[in-house]
Amino acid sequence: MESVVFFGKGGVGKSTIASNVTVVLARGGRKVLHVGCDPKMDSTLALMGRHIPPYAGKAGGGDRLIESVFGSPVPGVHCVEAGGPEPGVGCAGLGIGIMLDAMKDGGLLERAGYGAAVFDVLGDVVCGGFAAPLRRGFAKKVVIVTSETPLSLYAANRLIAMTGNYARNGVYLAGLAVNALRPEGVKTAEAFAAAVNTRVLGATLRDPAVAEAERARLPAVLSSPKSDFARRLVKLCSAIQAAGVPSSPPRALTEEEFRSFIGGGGGPAARPFSARRGGVPSAAAPGKLLASAGFSLAGIEGGQLLFDWTSPRGVFRTVIAPAAASKGGARGFSDWTVCFHPSAGPASEAFGGELLAAAGRLVPLRFEEISAALAAPGGWSGPALRQAGSPAGERSHLGFGSWPRFIFAGSEVDALAPPDSVMAMHGDDECRFCICEGGALGAFSENACVRPGGADMPGPVLPRSDEREPSTGLRSIEAVMGDDEKMLAAMRAAAAQAGPGGLAEFYVGCSPLLLASDAGAAARRVGAETGVEVSLERYCSLGRHSPEKAERRAAFMAGKFRRAARSPSRDVNLVYYGECPPGLRALLDSRGITAEEPGEDFYAGSAAARLQVLSAPDPVLQSALDRAGLRWLLPPAPYGLAGTAAWLEAIAGALGRRGFDAAPPTGTLAAHARLRRRAAGVSAAFVLPAGDAALLAGGGAFRRVPVPAVLAEGGLGLRFFVLARPADGRKAAAALKAALPGLRFPAPVFFSSPQGLARPLKADRSVRLVYSDIRSDGRVTAAGKTPFSSGIFEPGFDGAVETLRRLLELCDWDFNERYFAR
């Protein structure tokens, strides 16, 4: 079956050429389907003599498509228009894709016995949606309609590049159809064709017959069959039908080459170019070249490649970027640039000359080839996989394809949503399911640790569980026809929920972002209507603070604190202490310090106390409390006997209590001492990469529980297994000592690869416990040891005794040793 796709710059005469080709094909005895892929819906106007209803927005697939196919007055011709949204809204490319998918799924062309299909696609290809006709097995022959004007040729050049991207699907450029403004323009087009290694299939010239035919809504080959245009069109159609796969594929000009061509340089000599024909380029040679020049891949950042460059002066982080995307200060080579990464620090500048010399060895490589080196075979944890799958930010503890950490770094500061604020998410259903509690690794849980007791173990609920975090559930129809109404309604609802003076955050997900939905205009409109400022945030920033977001939140919270102000009736308010306040409140009470009971109104609870006792650093909350004139304290975490005493002392000191007794009760001390004696001779181990030693010092790791200190207080030995090269051992050992001042432990055991951990771990018989934030961590159980995490640590003096009891129970538990040790 003849299947031709016409592309070309808008206004170049593409629809005129395409519809007339359709007529000529039909006159040749074929049954032809003419497919308009332009939201303007005018491709079929000449063939139908009227506008036809488009397919856009219809749901239901193939059957509904048939309803959108109309018979033309021209014998043998049927027409369908994809249609699309009004200009500037929705996504026309998606609409075209959906219609063509339905056409393919339903087998329309085959079932209806068409002998030819002509696709007339919107002026320029602005996104992948408009390339939908080129998807595998759908249409293979591409004709680009162009005139001799620079803009038209520029569009043609880009379309040639697009065609190359789909060469893997068997798509090929048949050639150019020139619709020249002037007869001599044909020569310009021919020169361009030669420069890009293609041919001119035929040329038409400006002809009054065409304008006349358009006014009559008829194809010119029918209304003026003897015109010059009709004669040339018939020849063009014959050439299109005869065109086969070129022996060497065309090659689009680079920007520089195109400028040269337009400027009279004529462009490069036509030369074959290896178009994309499936698979990825061989990576062996680029990989070797990179390695020999001292560059090893370190990551991808914003589409730029990060390399660690090893020089005689040390290792420096560098950036290799496409020339078009490079920033100031980078030096160009081939089609890419190189510079030091900001993290390399100012000292790196002294070695700029050496970097350029090393980069000069890579000159034979184009950026594409350097990128392709990412695909170098390297087993599971090969560079592309490791880098593509290594999440940044809050999930950096889980490197996909690489060795997950035993100790999740956590977040050093809290970024909790202010109580009473509203956080609406404008996204699709996949977005809605981007959070989950529990799971195999617990890696995505808010509380990434195993808690005792099955009933307390977090498990998934139907997202979004918090009614203050709803999701709009974007659907296909809204993507095609525009999501303005849905977004507006959602914002109005969020604003109403927040109320005057409230805080409504509206998170725009990936799909609306791609649709370029104008959330800003909607927010301004809703703000004007309701008086509520709807602040816009980009996807994935729910748990992160930008300075602007932090400021808005702090101002909102400060206002709420001020409005709730009253005469304090309690000494302290425990802020964000989670599920454990009852014991801590009782402890405070036993020492004469009154604590506010948790209630419905967060702000009123704070106002009822003279001192806000925070559980973790929270810059937004701290700023809001300062602005509202409320005193706050961030004491040490109340874990272990010493930690709890320090917590009490800090609170008492802030309250001005003199002669305060913060010591543990005698009975508690005795119980702890009895348990401590049982702990003699057993150890708990920590496994970490060398660079993670600082995690042990505090910050967000261990849910802010001082795990090593509590273990040591309980009499358990501490052992450290560090993933490091032997050469780095001394440095890593020093880092451990620095991170845990005052704690005694033997020299760490080093291992050089993840596979090398099991043997030393198993060999140390004193080690009964291994810390891991991963549930039932198989790496621990396979060594016959028992994993534990901060989830079993309880606060307060009684909690210290209970924690030690639990740890010793785990030490006595030989289940893993008996059944899973390998």
Binding site: P460, S476, R775
Partner: protein, 432 residues
């Protein structure tokens, strides 16, 4: 505007996303891998299965060898050629050697951008075979995702060997489109029961797609004389039959006593066997009935609310009728449905707003007031029928795990499920 009207605008729908179905299909083939084009926000969806619903899942690994990998790509910053990066990653995963088959799909915004997953997959010619699962999250739900992922796997199966005639041998049957949502002993017991019953019926079960086995073992389905299409994988079953030239029979789930016998009889007919079911099958049915009978009075004239997937619902309602248990209300977590039961419940809600559904269930009064909740975890956690005894069934089941055989299909399944229903009513195990 008050909170109620806001809830109307932001209903929490009883529905599951498309990709969760894709993940379930990958979970069910022990050495399949999946590359998801998107940010790391796609990964928590694996936790809705691994470790929460399926304690035996290997989707995620503490060694880092996850079977789901994401490209860490977002709309911004834009890549100059995103497909090239995807191709590189896909080529590496395919070449890894740890997967026998690799699927690729993407977040909806990539569909908006027109990413050609089919072409990208076809461009990977080395290593494990790669197929695309269309990125239909904006149009379809989890059941379509499951079916399309299975269909993609069937596309990757090696070319079938010629099926020779086997005179005197039992006809070979492949069951395709089974919802093997976890590797626990509810499903392994179901499969054992189906194999046993087919053997009693003069048939040989050669393959169940999927069943937790490695990808290459699924190729045995191409040797079958008859492909039985279960509702979770109509497309996959049709493609399997088309590839092998086997006969295709579309059925529901073999649940309950009569339902199981009718299913077996249909299979025999489609396989060309003459006569009714063998006496051994009838004896099994009678024996199961005899064991269930003493408990049936517990269930008689009671009402159950069902909440779960439509295919399970389609099989459960006739079974409930067999037990004299009414189903006055149901909430289904997918818009996909093939046919409603002969006597649909008076309250049937598709992908409902859970708050509204709970209110509708609470409004059931008089003799329609239900006494039992049967359904997935979300039915309980969302308070669909608070206080009622709860039998957790279907995906997801976060609160009920099977360390022992607990089938729910076939005659054994009828016995086991009837026992669970009756025990829940007798013990009044709600509320959760």
């Amino acid at each position: 505007m008050n909170a109620t009207s806001r809830a109307d605008l932001f209903p929490k729908l009883f529905s599951l996303p498309y990709q969760l179905g894709v993940y379930l299909a990958v979970n069910a083939v022990s050495d399949a891998g999946l590359v998801v084009d998107g940010g790391d926000c796609v990964m928590p969806k694996a936790d809705f299965i691994a470790g929460n619903h399926d304690l035996r899942s290997t989707l995620l690994s503490p060694y880092g060898k996850h079977r789901i990998v994401c490209t860490m790509t977002a709309p911004l910053p834009q890549d100059s050629n995103h497909e090239r990066k995807l191709s590189s990653l896909l080529a590496e995963v395919a070449a890894d050697g740890g997967f026998s088959a690799v699927l690729v799909t993407g977040l909806p915004f990539f569909k908006l951008a027109g990413v050609d997953y089919e072409g990208v997959a076809a461009g990977i010619t080395k290593g494990s075979p790669v197929a695309d699962v269309p990125a239909l999250s904006l149009e379809a739900g989890w059941l379509e995702g499951y079916d399309l992922a299975l269909e993609a796997l069937v596309r990757l199966l090696p070319a079938p060997r010629r099926r020779g005639r086997r005179p005197g041998k039992r006809p070979r049957v492949a069951v395709a489109g089974y919802l093997f949502d976890r590797g626990e002993r509810d499903h392994t017991a179901n499969l054992a029961e189906l194999g046993r019953l087919l053997a009693l019926s003069g048939l040989e079960l050669v393959s169940v797609l999927p069943s937790g086995v490695p990808f290459r073992e699924l190729a045995r389905g191409l040797e079958a004389d008859l492909v039985v299409s279960l509702p979770y994988g109509r497309r996959a079953a049709a493609r399997l039959a088309a590839r092998s030239g086997a006969a295709l029979l579309e059925t529901g789930l073999p649940m309950g006593l009569k339902g199981t016998s009718a299913w077996l009889a249909a299979l025999r007919r489609a396989a060309g066997l003459r006569g009714g079911l063998p006496a051994a099958v009838a004896a099994e049915e009678s024996m199961a009935a005899g064991e269930m009978a003493p408990l049936l009075d517990v269930l008689a004239h009671r009402g159950a609310v069902f909440a779960g997937d439509p295919h399970l619902f389609g099989a459960f309602v006739p079974f409930a009728g067999e037990l004299r248990l009414r189903v006055p209300a149901a909430a289904l977590d997918s818009g996909v449905r093939e046919k409603l039961p002969v006597r649909p419940p008076q309250l049937l809600l598709l992908r409902p707003d859970m708050a509204a559904a709970a209110a509708a269930v609470a409004a059931l009064g008089g003799y329609d007031k239900p006494q039992l909740l049967v359904g997935n975890s979300f039915a309980a956690t969302e308070g669909l029928a608070p206080g009622l005894p709860f039998v957790e069934l279907g995906f997801p089941s976060y609160g009920h795990h099977c360390l022992n055989d607990e089938p729910f299909l076939g005659f054994s399944g009828a016995r086991t499920l009837a026992g669970r229903l009756a025990n829940a009513l007798r013990s009044g195990n709600g509320p959760r």
